[in-house]
């Protein structure tokens, strides 16, 4: 078709295989792009209001319910924020257990997303269900790895979803060391499945579109930052403390989204696996670097579709790092710790990386230990602006060579590549009426 004749509207009213409800609108007239919008229309969640009046130890368990996929991440981030507000210090044992729990969820979430939500795009099927018929071994491997990572979370969290073992200052019920040893063996046994995952990923044809943007993630001097660190920008090559997160996210609203948008040093920024790998590549374990090399992921990488590849690299990192940390647990044993704490007035900010990017929680307590203010800034709300900027950049590039259907698929794949959790991203908008 002659480019000048290309006039169509794309309106994907419900993008599939993402968490929540997102809408993509593209309008072209005679070969020119007139409108590109990513619209989020989900209702607000009100979690920041639910927790007002709650006592400190309740909050991490309640906000875990923001998401069934990132429940560990919300719980960890809230725990750190509340502990910061109350001036609670935690032991190296608790930090180790939290890192294990955190990385178990990275494996769970990334494997689910890559195998169940993203891979079907690349193999030309609508979902994982037809894939089970055409590629049963791929799906069986996905199920094995997913079950392993679910059990990983259960060993440290007490249960797979919304774990209850972690609390302020420590662990309510320590993991069973026999279960820890069993998990270590299963992680090692899963290495062939991980290698096969890398091999499968290598066969997928990733769309070649690039747009350089600002990449934001936690950065830690000693390790690949998932549990802790300061907020790093690829633009300034420097970090700021997590307490200054509002200066990072600079949230604002747009008419076509119920989620808030973010921007830092330029129009938009990218958070998530690709941002982490770009910013912290040198701290990946050698096995993960090797996987990145095999998958053709060279940093800095500006192709957002490669976020799925970065997720696989992180799965490899978390599996090998898990074995290393499990050895530490088995070598040193675990001892019960006093988790009593005193309440006081104060404000605290916590931040962790969660599978979809950097997450911030912020709580303020009165002198009776009641929560009086809360704020959470979710990775997807930070990413939505960047996704739309990508769409605006890529549609004109794609338009000459693609049919309406191909363009639609590529836009959906782009949104899915970011692994958005739209349900989590929708927050109460602060409205101030002016007389």
């Amino acid at each position: 078709m002659d480019l000048r004749e290309k006039t169509f509207n794309i309106d994907v009213n419900h993008v599939t295989r993402v968490e929540g409800h997102g809408r993509i609108i593209v309008s072209t007239r005679e070969g020119a792009v007139k409108e590109v919008k990513l619209s989020i229309t989900e209702a607000n969640r009100f979690f920041e209001n639910f927790v007002k009046g709650m006592n400190p130890s309740q909050i991490p368990w309640i906000v875990s319910r923001i998401c069934g996929i990132c429940c560990v991440g919300h719980q960890m981030t809230a725990t750190k924020a509340v502990e910061s507000a109350l001036g609670i210090e935690v032991s190296p044992q608790t930090v180790l257990l939290r890192k294990l729990l955190t990385e178990s969820q990275f494996m769970q979430s990334h494997l689910l997303h890559v195998y169940f939500l993203a891979v079907p795009d690349y193999l030309g099927v609508q979902s994982v269900l037809p894939l089970a018929k055409t590629h049963p071994e791929v799906v069986k491997r996905a199920l094995r790895l997913k079950k392993l990572s679910n059990d990983y979370t259960t060993v440290f969290g007490g249960r797979m979803l919304h774990p209850m073992a972690n609390t302020l200052k420590g662990w309510r019920k320590l993991p069973d060391l026999d279960a820890v040893a069993g998990l270590r063996k299963r992680l090692l046994d899963a290495i062939p499945d991980l290698k096969e995952t890398v091999r499968i990923m290598k066969t997928l044809k990733i769309p070649p579109y690039e747009r350089e943007t600002e990449y934001v993630s936690l950065k830690h001097p000693d390790e690949y930052a998932l549990y802790d660190g300061a907020v790093y920008s690829s633009d300034t090559k420097s970090s700021v403390p997590v307490d200054e997160y509002r200066d990072v996210t600079n949230e604002f609203t747009v008419a076509h989204c119920t989620t808030k948008w973010s921007r830092w040093h330029r129009d938009s920024y990218f958070v998530g696996a690709l941002a982490r790998v770009n910013n912290n590549f040198e701290q990946l374990l050698p096995e993960a670097k090797q996987a990145a090399d095999e998958l053709g992921l060279k940093v800095p990488c500006y192709n957002p579709y490669m976020n799925n590849v970065a997720q696989v690299v992180e799965v490899v990192h978390c599996a090998y790092n898990g074995v290393r940390m499990l050895d530490e647990v088995l070598g040193g044993g675990l001892k019960a710790e006093d988790v009593a704490y005193e309440v006081k007035a104060g404000r605290g900010v916590g931040s962790c990386e969660v599978p979809r990017g950097i997450l911030f929680h912020d709580y303020t307590f009165d002198e009776n230990g009641r929560c009086v203010d809360a704020n959470a800034v979710i990775p997807t709300s930070q990413n939505i602006n960047n996704v739309e900027q990508d769409m605006k950049a890529f549609v004109p590039e794609m338009l000459p060579g693609m049919s309406r259907e191909e363009l639609t698929l590529h836009m959906e794949m782009l949104l899915r590549a970011y692994d958005p959790c739209i349900s989590c991203s929708v927050h109460m908008l602060d409205v101030e009426f002016v007389d």
Partner: protein, 181 residues
């Protein structure tokens, strides 16, 4: 999440005997979602009876991957007990085989939040699970966030439990007949 939609195709869905001799009763549901917990509550009660010892399992907040993994691991005939939107009056129940009902599988619209029991069954079947699957579905009153069952469902609970018990007993008797014959 586990409140899968199901459209009953035929009027008479009395289940025949389960193939195999070592079947499980599996409660499926989500705590904190009102009547979506009915499957878990029923199977918890059932598990206290001696004849169900070792035969009961619970799948809490199970996504499709968990359901499919469990079925493939167990490789046994199962009775899945769950809240199901069957277009019946709230509190009514049906006992049927997965082959006798069209479970609405959201093949094109799945998210990992939305991959539920129906998708899990479809996935297990596609991956070669060939054992009998019976579903004891209960039409919920309300599945919005709420601790415990609704008052109405709690009132009907003893009669629904008795019906589940009877259905499972019939299966067990049929199984014994098969073994003897």
């Amino acid at each position: 999440m586990s409140t899968e939609s199901s459209r009953i195709r035929s009027g008479d869905l009395r289940a025949g005997p389960l193939a195999g001799s070592d079947w499980l009763v599996v409660g499926v549901g989500t705590p904190g979602s009102g009547d979506d917990e009915i499957g878990l509550a029923l199977v918890r009660d059932l598990s206290r009876q001696a004849e169900y010892s070792g035969r009961c399992r619970l799948l809490e907040c199970a996504d499709a991957a968990m359901v499919a993994s469990a079925l493939l691991d167990w490789q046994k005939p199962v009775v899945l007990v769950d809240a199901a939107d069957m277009g019946l009056a709230p509190g009514e129940f049906r006992f049927f085989s997965d082959g006798n009902a069209a479970l609405t599988v959201k093949a094109g619209s799945v998210s990992s939040h939305g991959l539920g029991l129906a998708e899990g069954l479809a996935l297990a079947r596609a991956l070669g699970h060939d054992r009998a699957i019976r579903i004891f579905g209960v039409q919920p009153f309300d599945v919005s966030p709420k601790q415990g069952l609704t008052r109405e469902m709690s009132g009907l609970f003893p009669s629904i439990l008795a019906a589940l018990n009877k259905a499972c007993s019939r299966l067990q008797q049929a199984e014994c007949r098969d073994a003897a014959g």
